[in-house]
Amino acid sequence: MSDTAVYADNLSKKFKVYKKPYHRLLEWASFGSLNCHEDFWALKNVSFRLKKGESLGIVGPNGAGKSTLLKILTGALFPTAGSYSVNGRVVSLLELGTGFHPELTGLQNIHNSASLLGFEPSYVEKKLNDIIEFSGLKDFLDRPVKTYSSGMFVRLAFSLFANLDPDVYIVDEALAVGDVFFQQKCYAKLEEMRNNGVSIIIVSHDPAPIVKFCDHAIMIDHGSIVYSGKPDKVIEMYQAKEFGKRGHEQDYNITVSEGNIIYGNRNCEIIKSNIHSNGQEKNTFFTGEQASIDLYLKCSDKMALNEPLNIGFQIKNRFGSVLYGTNTFWNKIEVSCKNRHNLIKCSFHVCLNLGPGEYTVSAAVAEAKRHAETIYYWSENITKFQILEKPDSNFGGEVFLPVQISLTEVPEL
């Protein structure tokens, strides 16, 4: 157990919901013999184990119980049942700068917040230089925080939290603030912390940091863990569920097989797909190579004839971010089922202007509306391919943008 950083065993949290404040008074006055409240279980039997130096991603819809779980782990809330243990010091980034007093100077706030988090003053003294250096706010530290811009405020707060060197670090959506440079700095710091053996728990709606940083992920819904596993799989599952919820129909039966997640009401199905170049099926390409993605669709009996369809695909990078996607509706191509016995073959001819790396393709067929509510069939990771670096490659990054370089001499600006 010594290599365990965070351990949760059947954690449950019940909130008592009173319709009126005096209902509680009634209950107290009757010494508990009257029951005037309703129980609301925010968490039900949540168990997981996080090893030292590993990171865990938590996803789930709003109100699923993610924050309740984090608050229990930080010690702010008491669990109703179950137990947990956190090995070492835990620092939570639940809200950047919660403890900042606007009238205090930056330096005073560093001391004040650190003592609020329970760190010894001597410890903060030791870390002070790192904190100041990371924030880059040396010249502003003796000014009251109320004179700071919101960006400076966040910088100071994150510098403080990031340099306290906790054993377990909890990040809850907080990194969605600040400009893009600051975010990159934060992520670099997170990476550095993880390499130093700090365990990290990240809650985010953004798949990128979870896929990038986490070793495991769990998905929470209605207070329970509904899915756990590799981050990219959990993210796909989460996104599939979220898409499914948008529809009014409840038959979004989700199936998972070999990393391929399929959902939709199956009125029309993609029964086969392949990716090829000039008829030759393959899955390694060079940057800028022409490829075709073929999808074969079959309509079921439930599908009305001549009902307009929308067929599309997406290319995702290894972090699950969508790099490109298009569909027949956006391209104003009308598709519909004319004859149930025939398949529809839809080919997307696309120039793979992508940087070297692995990519996945998702494909879907839905009703032909701008915001499709009915999805017939959505297949995450229907196929994948790899882009190889050309020997004469002249760029870096994930996408290839044709570029022209011109040089002229100018006397003076």
Partner: protein
């Protein structure tokens, strides 16, 4: 509880001092208002009661003695009532911290009590200087003043623990407290002397838990008397019971406090 106070001592201290500082932030002379406020209060009382109302204490006929009697009880009462009324809202006001950090609840009450204690200390220092300057005589019995106001704030701390816990569940408590504190002051011989009470009302002060504290302050400052042994005993026992009671109620309901903020 003690261990947690030691862990968070720096936070409690810096915030208690911070409160005194920021009460008057933005004003030109800032912190000095902490001294000037009690000073002007004392000055006004002295003027009113020695020149306009002409109140006299039985046994002490000098001109400003009633004002000093009034101040000796009132200054302590003001910081005590501030401690209880503000302490009642302590958990509500610091809800954002309590909901997010594992910081113990009573730290926030302690911070308010400490700042009230410090402002009491300042007030009585001003009173001491005032008494010295106006030549009303200072005796060694002043030495009991720090103990009295200390125990008084401890009593206030215990009450605040209880009321702030209850206030989380029933928000009406803080309103009731501010009414009750006003009533309580007039039930205590602070503005009047105990002797002017009709016989049928005298029992009130003997069951009034704040009276031993106020009485010991008045005796020490005005009459130069040490508190009686029973008085001292009451002060210790009342403050002790209130802290134990307040803390047990807090512990009993602790698990639900943060759920309701």
């Amino acid at each position: 509880m003690i261990r947690e106070f030691i862990q968070y001592r720096r936070y409690i201290f810096s915030n208690a001092i911070g409160e005194l500082k920021f009460k008057y932030v933005g004003s030109t002379i800032g912190v000095f208002w902490n001294v000037l406020n009690p000073f002007f209060q004392i000055l006004i009382f002295t003027f009113v009661f020695s020149n306009i109302m002409l109140a006299r204490l039985p046994g002490l006929e000098s001109k400003g003695s009633f004002a000093i009697y009034l101040c000796s009880g009132l200054l302590g009462w003001i910081s005590f009532s501030e401690c209880v009324t503000r302490g009642t809202n302590a958990f509500m006001e610091n809800g954002t911290f309590l909901k997010k950090l594992p910081i113990p609840e009573h730290v926030f009450v302690a911070q308010i009590s400490l700042s009230a204690l410090m402002s009491a200390a300042v007030s009585y220092s001003v009173l001491l200087v005032f008494v010295l300057v106006t030549g009303h005589g200072v005796a060694l019995t002043w030495l009991i003043v720090p103990l009295s106001i200390g125990l008084m704030q401890l009593f206030g701390f215990g009450l605040s623990l209880f009321f702030s816990t209850i206030n989380v569940f029933f928000r009406d408590v803080s309103q009731l407290i501010s009414i009750f504190i006003g009533l309580w002051m007039w039930m205590t011989p602070i503005v009047y002397t105990k002797d002017i009470l009709p016989e049928s009302f005298r029992w009130i002060s003997s069951v009034n838990p704040i009276y031993p504290f106020v009485n010991s302050l008045q005796n020490a400052i005005v009459f130069h008397q040490w508190p009686s042994r029973s008085n001292l005993f009451y002060m210790v026992i009342i403050s002790f019971i209130s802290v134990v009671f307040g803390y047990s109620v807090l512990l009993f309901l602790r698990k639900e406090i943060r759920d309701n903020l």
